[in-house]
Amino acid sequence: MSTYLSKRLLYMILILFAASLLIFALYANTPGDFITGNIKLTAERKAELREIYGLNKPMLERYGIWLKNALHGDFGYSLAQQKPVLQLFNDYIWNSFLLAAVSTFLTWLIAVIIGVISAYRQYSWFDTLVMIGIFAAMSLPSFFIGLFLIKMLAVDLKWLPPGGMITSGSNATGMAYIKEVLHHMALPVIVMTLLGLGSLTRYFRSGMIDVLRQDYIRTARAKGLSERKVLFRHALRNALLPAITLVGFELPSLFGGSIIIEQIFNWPGVGQLYMKSFGLRDYPLLMGFTMLLAILTVLGTLLSDMLYRVADPRVRL
């Protein structure tokens, strides 16, 4: 176990190094940089600025500098905002987390409930309806459903605000502020929950169907236990356990924000920060964000594998 873990960690670090080099090379070789876009500057001033930011150095040297600083926990300064990248992340990431945490919680809750009922009544009309709903949720283009719901619920019916985190120009505090944020996050949370429901409901439904076919369920019924006890004590627990391996895969979406949803709903999270910086070619920020996602992905996979062992002790690592 411990040799497995140390091997695994070593490989993770190597992969992350390779990934950082790849990402850096790609960003560095995308034509145009932060200064090219600024038409107000003269040619000399541009050259001067490139000198200051170190943009005129060869790619590998720049990568070396970036890597050295990154290993010391310094991901550089955002060129556009003149703030440390990590501080910007800290400013924006919690907004992303708020959306992701609430919608993940709702997704799991609803998916378990629907999945269990659907499995219990397999092949009923409810189950068929759920299956169609699952496919619908898995086939929704996220940006389109976002736009559609904004148009319907915010523009036409005016039930919910169309975007942002607070009403522009508002300086509410305390309870009023919380209420305002809740009001604004309703729509993006609905969309994210809807998008996540498909695959998760399917997972719980098929898991539950498998468990309900097991011998120990028949035994439980034969003992004369009430159907409720059989379902919740004996079946549900065993159906839910394997799902803990999915927790790891939620990691990138929990902290990495959602580029598309945040962009559509104008939500001030890291995803939107990334989109803004992308147009400006704000490399330190882009690099930091992409690495953040890569690290979360790798950690999430590791976590999943570890939890897999917890769920099923027969699995040897």
Partner: protein
């Protein structure tokens, strides 16, 4: 010599019969799944609509018609017209041609790459396997959306002509999609190569290429068909996201994704929903139909994979 030819002829004939009956069996099973049949019907309908539909439209020349700007749906223009007076129905169909083609082509390419590299990896193992799988791991570590955005931005900065962009977008999507496919094929290969029939192939002294192409690959064809079908939907969705953000296929080549770009304009978004809702509904209808059909296929071809 003659006996041998007769024998091989007989055996190929027999195997062909058996194979076609397996196909027939699967088809019959598939026909029982009403949902899958309906999905297939919708896919066929959308394809025919997009590829044949424009032939019946009087507005295919995409002429700018100032008198017919931003008109709401009417009997003359079923889905209304855009800011240049072009018929939306016709544009949705023309865009569908591109979106479906991009989805299909990038799927074919990623399945080809994934199957080939995965098979080589799983069959030869050793250093080849190491190299291929480490590259796959690397590509899977780098988040997809930023990767696609970078490629898209490169295409824009290099001023790639819009006619070519479509092909490069296919390449981009396949570059991101093959690693998952390769990993799955490799896993299958690793288990298949330990089976008895492969030991028999070993004893017969067959060349590696023959073992790979004639004995191992046919066994993963069902898995490939299922993955390929489900992959088309994903590719269509990815293309639409990229094109929506202006990093995929660009106008004047219409795709469903870049037609929804109209929604980025506040006035069009609020007052002219017929500009961007029809392409969005088309994406949704096509992808859901493909996914339902693909799931039905999986039940028939690869029951073990059912989740």
């Amino acid at each position: 010599m003659r006996v041998e030819t007769v024998l091989t002829k007989a055996s190929t004939k027999r195997s062909r019969e058996r194979r076609s009956s397996l196909l027939g069996q699967s088809l019959r099973k598939l026909m029982h799944n009403k949902l899958a049949v309906a999905g297939f019907a919708v896919v066929v309908f959308m394809t025919l609509l997009c590829f044949i539909g424009p032939l019946f439209s009087p507005y295919t020349d995409n002429k700018i018609n100032m008198a017919m700007m931003n008109k709401a749906p009417s009997l003359k223009h079923w889905l209304g017209t855009d800011a240049l007076g072009r018929d939306i129905m016709t544009r949705v169909m023309q865009a569908g041609r591109i979106s479906l083609t991009v989805g299909l082509a990038s799927m074919l390419l990623s399945v080809f790459l994934g199957a080939l590299l995965g098979a080589i990896s799983g069959y030869y193992r050793g250093i080849t396997d190491q190299i291929i799988m480490r590259i796959a791991d690397l590509l899977m570590t780098v988040p997809n959306l930023p990767l696609l955005f970078i490629f898209g931005a490169m295409l824009s900065e290099w001023k790639v002509p819009t006619d070519y962009r479509m092909y490069l977008v296919m390449l981009m999507l396949s570059a991101v999609n093959w690693p998952g496919m390769a990993r799955m094929v490799r896993g299958q290969m690793l288990s298949l190569r330990e089976r008895e029939f492969m030991q028999a192939a070993e004893v017969l002294g067959l060349r590696p290429r023959r073992k790979l192409l004639h004995h191992l690959l046919p066994n993963i064809v069902p898995l490939l068909i299922v993955m390929a079908t489900l992959n088309i939907g994903g590719a269509i969705l990815s293309e639409s996201v990229l094109s929506f953000f202006g990093l995929g296929v660009m106008p004047p080549t219409p795709t469903w994704g870049n037609m929804i770009d109209a929604a980025n304009n506040m006035i069009d978004f609020q007052n002219h929903p017929w500009l961007w809702i029809p392409p969005g509904v088309s994406i949704f209808a096509t992808v859901i139909a493909i996914n339902i059909f693909g799931d039905g296929l999986r039940d028939v071809l690869d029951p073990k994979q059912k989740r």
